[in-house]
Amino acid sequence: MEKHKVIELRHLTDSSFVVRMERNGLEFQTGQFISVSLNGKVDRREYSVYSGEKDDYLEVLVREVERGKVSGRLKNLKAEDDIYVDGPFGFFKFSPQTFSSKKFLFIATGTGISPFHSFVRTHRGLDYQLIHGVRYACEAYGHSDFETGKTILCTSGDDGGNFSGRVTDYLYSQRIDHDTNCFLCGNSEMIYEVFDMLTAKGIPVSNIYSEVYF
């Protein structure tokens, strides 16, 4: 694992934060994840890269998981601390030119928005829609970096979003063109339900890409 110096920690809510660290020449393709550890040995965890391919720093978006071993400790990081990074890994890669249809649907729960944030920071002018499911409107992580009118925030715990309810409740009534490339990221429960819904709407399995966090 390579040592990276923390540049800053940005707290987005009480429990979620962005760790910005030195990039140290790490090359990745947007959508990939890195493996992060505090001591370079045991207890490493995967985090999708939140920053763009061309940014000169590296960022991850983390939510502190209750009784979690690593995420809570990451929250205590300060500028100048060292963390250890391995990677990049994974095949949830995104390069728009490789798709024949240029229509994209990004569906995320919680910090699952992270790879999509990296997608839009890297590739400007995409034809996309982001559907983001969270409990409270304050968890609209990095929405200002997405284009206005292209995001739907689904909130299940308050009425502060564009839609009150879960991602699946929103999707239920939506028409989706069959040639849309659908990217799903977050918890497996949402991914399973959305997968069933999309296939029932006639989207071919080969147009569905997923990254399961837990």
């Binding site: 694992m1 370079g40 040995k41 045991v42 490493r44 995967e46 391995d86 890994f89 994974g90 095949f91 497996s188 991914i191 399973y192 997968f195 069933d196 071919p204 399995v205 080969s206 997923s210 399961v212 837990f214």
Partner: protein
């Protein structure tokens, strides 16, 4: 993989003047090539090392450990073993053992190198093959796939391909020595070469080079490879197998689950449509090939409906063999942090259902071979008294009566007389002389 690693360790120690003993209590040097992938295997390591460390009270004993280790276990073993090393540093093992006692204990490059630098030094060790007729050739180390149930990317590091010229010369040497079965080994053999970004040949090209070697050397032998990942399995690979007689007509294609959603959670990066297309290509291009697979039952959250999709897939693909495992969380793997929520009894039931499904297809397939003559590589005595057994090119197990043990390691033709669900029985027809080609080719199984 550990078997192949072991052959190289024995070779290095032989060179250094050590002699192998089967008797653990007689040994002055004992080592373990561990595998952290299964918790049970690691538990065994602990019980062994505690025993050996007790023996040190009354005899001189040096212990070493290497292999597939998770960083966590590695740390603990540092305190328990005299020598620890990474496989890539194997050539330095004799020196480390001789240094033991001067600067005790000796731990070379503590930690796991994810980039597998200098792994070539390990590959360059000439192995001490444990068999005179079948051998394993590592072609790659590590894995980049990060399936959520597997810890290999953390224990063996990133995918690194061995230079093709070395693989081909090791293969040529083995063929010249009369080896009959050669298995190319790697965690993801068909992504061979991809890490070298254009500077190394691809896996289908490697297969073709080995196929050409077979043609040039005019010897009969079977080359297998394991395991490929469906994600990188192309028609090019299948076409190469079809074209060259030396490439065995047997494909091991791990499916893991027959349900798209479970495959997503397993982070397999292939779906059933992709898998189905590959199987169709295999059936179309090499219809005589046998098909083997790996399946995990009872993975985190696997519902009855999802399991039923796996059963249906087994029915559809008619595998000749399935290495079906009951899911157990592996330390270091992502899914180790997820709930292992399918009860053991249910997992056992699912395993049983799949075994019965396998039987259902195998029975008629094997029965169909009765009366036909198949070529068999004889591997040794069978459990049945007075019988030897071996396998066909398609790795189907065949036993036959003979008292001539000397034919172990040779090709023979066997006429199949009866078939059971998982093996065949037959009569020895004729022995095929070593090194010759152009026999009446046995075309079945």
């Amino acid at each position: 993989m550990n078997l192949s690693d072991g052959e190289r360790v024995i070779s290095v120690l032989n060179e250094a003047g050590y002699e192998w003993t089967d008797n653990e209590e007689e040994a002055g040097l004992i080592g373990i090539l561990a595998c952290s992938v299964r918790q049970k295997a690691i538990d065994k390591v602990y019980s062994r090392i505690y025993k050996w460390n007790k023996w040190k009270n009354h005899k001189n004993l040096v212990t070493f450990i290497s292999g597939c280790l998770l960083p966590d276990d590695h740390e603990k073993f540092l305190k328990l073993f005299d020598v620890t090393f990474q496989m890539k540093d194997l050539p330095k093992l004799p020196e480390m053992i001789s240094r033991y006692g001067v600067t005790t204990p000796v731990h070379l490059n503590v930690g796991i190198d994810p980039h597998n630098e200098n792994i070539e030094e390990f590959w360059n060790v000439k192995p001490n093959y444990q068999s005179g007729f079948e051998a394993f050739i590592p072609i790659q180390n590590g894995c980049d796939k990060f399936c959520s149930f597997c810890a290999v990317p953390y224990t063996r590091g990133r995918e690194v391909s061995r230079p093709s010229k070395d693989i081909i010369s090791e293969t040529a040497l083995l063929i010249a020595q009369g080896y009959k079965s050669i298995t190319l080994l790697g965690q993801n053999v068909n992504s061979y070469g991809l890490d070298k970004k254009g500077e190394e040949i691809s896996f289908p090209q490697l297969l073709r080079e080995i196929g050409e070697l077979g043609k040039r050397m005019k010897r009969e032998f079977w080359v297998y490879f394991t395991s490929p990942h469906p994600r990188d399995m192309s028609d090019e690979v299948i076409e190469a197998i079809a074209e060259y007689p030396a490439l065995a007509k047997q494909v091991h294609l791990p499916m893991q689950s027959g349900d798209d959603k479970v495959l997503m959670r397993m982070n397999r990066k292939h779906n059933m449509e992709k898998y189905r297309n590959i199987v169709e290509s295999i059936r179309r291009i090499i219809p005589q090939a046998t098909l083997f697979t790996d399946i995990i039952v009872g993975f985190t959250g696997e519902t009855e409906e999802q399991f039923e999709n796996t059963r249906k897939a087994m029915e559809e693909f008619r595998f000749n063999m399935s290495y079906t495992a009951i899911y157990s969380p592996r330390p270091g793997a992502t899914s180790h942090r997820w709930a292992d929520d399918v009860p053991l009894e249910e997992k056992k039931k699912r395993l049983h259902i799949l075994t019965e499904e396998l039987r259902k297809h195998n029975r008629p397939y094997n029965k169909n071979l009765v009366g036909k003559t198949v070529r068999v590589l004889v591997r040794g005595s069978d459990r049945k008294e007075g019988y030897l057994s071996g396998h066909t090119e398609g790795k189907l197990i065949v036993r036959f009566a003979t008292d001539d043990e000397k034919i172990t390691g040779q090709f023979v033709d066997v006429k199949i007389t009866s078939a059971s669900d998982f093996s065949l029985e037959g009569e020895l027809m004729e022995q095929v002389e070593a090194g010759s080609v152009g026999f009446k080719a046995a075309t079945h199984g």
